[in-house]
């Protein structure tokens, strides 16, 4: 039984078939990438996995249990975290507060205790701060700790998105185009971090990506999609040399 699997996943928006019959399985501890041209349905799959949209057909299984039809806010509790393509950070809060919000599902205190700020709440707060600090160290965000997100450059925001997702203590991390908008140096850092996430933190990564060099470097397996359908599934080399994939996405060898 695989760590995470989608079976015959399909969704239709009116007449538009965004995702049709997609099935794949992700093993624990691997980095699995989905590639494909724009409009292929990659982010839609992420939205399906985060339970933002209910699928019109198919199932999603995580750690052996079916999660289709559950509510979006339960996903974090199950151990799945995600970043968003267009960055959905909390703009009017500091980086630290954003990360602390990521610790929400570790909350063990109730409203009454919090209003009185009992010692239990204080201890919990200090524990949250320590946990968040570890993520800050991991991603080198120390100098941005107290900055308001609204004023940060794009590259830093992407890292904060990832940090916030890591703060939820996930077993499966969904990264939506982690290197888009980053310069080569930042993309390099991103590659190192994804490798560290896999090796040091033991988190399984499911990624959507366009940058082929990053894909080749970090991925264990790749799924190529086109127009909502699966095109090819295999290791990075296999998929990149698949003629169908080359024709649809990578560009034909003239």
């Amino acid at each position: 039984m695989s760590f995470f699997a989608c079976e015959n996943l399909s969704i239709q928006f009116g007449g538009v078939k965004a995702v049709t019959n997609v099935s794949f399985a992700v093993e624990q501890g691997e980095v699995f990438t989905i590639i494909g041209p724009n409009g292929a349905g990659k982010t839609t799959i992420f939205n399906l996995i985060s339970l933002i949209y209910p699928p019109t057909a198919g199932r999603i299984l995580f750690e052996g249990a079916e999660i289709t039809g559950s509510s979006p806010h339960k996903v974090a509790n199950l151990g799945i975290a995600r970043t968003f393509q267009n960055i959905e950070l909390f703009e009017h809060a500091t980086v630290l507060q954003n990360l602390l919000i990521g610790r929400h599902n570790f909350r063990r205190t109730n409203v009454l205790q919090e209003m009185l700020f009992l010692p239990a709440v204080r201890r919990a707060e200090l524990a949250h701060r320590e946990a968040v600090e570890k993520v800050i160290d991991f991603l080198d965000l120390q100098r941005y700790r107290e900055s308001l997100v609204a004023g940060l450059p794009y590259g830093v925001r992407k890292v904060v998105e990832m940090a916030r997702a890591l703060c939820t203590g996930p077993k499966l991390l969904l990264l939506d185009e982690p290197s888009s908008g980053l310069n080569p140096e930042e993309t390099d850092d991103m590659a190192f971090w994804i490798e560290d996430i896999k090796k040091d933190l033991g988190v399984t990564v499911l990624m959507v990506e366009h940058d082929m060099s990053l894909v080749s470097r970090v991925s264990d397996r790749v799924l190529a999609m086109n127009q909502g359908e699966m095109l090819s599934l295999g290791t990075s080399k296999e998929v990149q040399s698949d003629p169908a994939v080359i024709e649809a996405y990578l560009g034909k060898q003239e």
């Binding site: 968003f84 393509q85 267009n86 959905e88």
Partner: protein
């Protein structure tokens, strides 16, 4: 049956007023996503200008209507230029609060103008006190005129938006102002024009309403019923505003007669709550969803 017809008729006439206010309101919302809480007060000011033309300057009724519409259109454009333009781009509720402030100022200033003051003033119309008999019901001529004139104005506006590029320009600026600028749409001029048209429509409503409620500084509070009308019809939909207004007018007329006392005032709000719970986007509204 005659009673029913009479009630329905009054309901439609009142509904036309609501529809006009809601129309002005929806126009502004479509163009700038601003919710104009001062729309009722614009109507009130239009009523005052109409009164001024007829009672204080002695002009004929039809000239007074044109006068009030033109003056209010200019006022609306000035309002947009001076007060609304600086805040456009900030959070929606902030802009709403600005319009609330504008309403306060308008109500306050109107009571301080000599000749207007705090009294209730009567606007003379050529069809006051006259009645038409139809199917056993006595229908007031000024209510008939309200319905007829409203229909005429709606036809005019429909033609204006259908056959000019303004309608499309309006929608572009409301969805993404910066992109609209890039496309060469004169955003600021479009916004100003829309406010002018809206204020003109409000003035028209004010003059039509004057015979029924008389002209006074708090006349604009009826405009608050335009919100339920706009919501029922579907925010952002022009035909929706009209249909919504008529529905609210009819609901109030029948509630006033068939339900115990006090229900008439809140009937509109009960209806709007029901609509918001069941179908928030209203009868004709669009359901939009953020794409992540």
């Amino acid at each position: 049956m005659a009673q029913f017809l009479q009630l329905a008729f009054s309901g439609i006439a009142l509904g036309c007023i609501y529809a006009l206010v809601a129309l002005g309101f929806v126009l502004i919302y479509k163009a700038t996503e601003t919710v104009n809480f001062a729309q009722g007060d614009l109507m009130m000011l239009g009523g005052f200008f109409g009164y001024t033309a007829v009672a204080l300057m002695g002009w004929p009724y039809w000239a007074a209507i044109i006068f009030a519409i033109l003056v209010m259109a200019i006022f609306g454009m000035l309002l947009e230029r001076v007060v609304l333009r600086p805040v456009l781009g900030q959070a929606q509720f902030t802009v709403v609060m600005v319009t609330i402030g504008v309403g306060y100022v308008m109500r306050g200033v109107v009571t301080m103008v000599p000749g207007w003051g705090t009294e209730t003033l009567k606007l003379q119309t050529p069809f006051a006190e006259q009645v038409v008999n139809f199917a056993g019901a006595a229908l007031a001529l000024d209510q008939i005129m309200i319905i007829v004139l409203t229909a005429a104005l709606c036809g005019l506006l429909f033609a204006f938006f259908r056959f000019t590029r303004l309608g499309i320009a309006m929608q572009a600026t409301s969805q993404n102002q910066l992109a609209a600028y890039y496309m060469g749409i004169p955003v600021r001029r479009v916004n100003m024009l829309i406010w002018g048209i809206s204020a003109g429509v409000a003035a028209f409503a004010g003059i039509l309403l004057a015979p029924i409620t008389f002209v006074h500084a708090n006349m604009g509070f009826i405009g608050l019923k335009a919100f339920p009308a706009a919501v029922v019809g579907g925010f952002g939909s022009v035909p929706g505003a009209i249909v919504g207004g008529l529905i609210i007018g009819l609901v109030e007329a029948f509630a006033g007669f068939y339900l115990p006392e006090g229900f008439k005032d809140i009937a509109a709000y009960i209806v709007v709550l029901a609509v918001l719970i069941v179908k928030p986007s209203g009868l004709f509204g669009q359901k939009l969803r953020k794409k992540v």
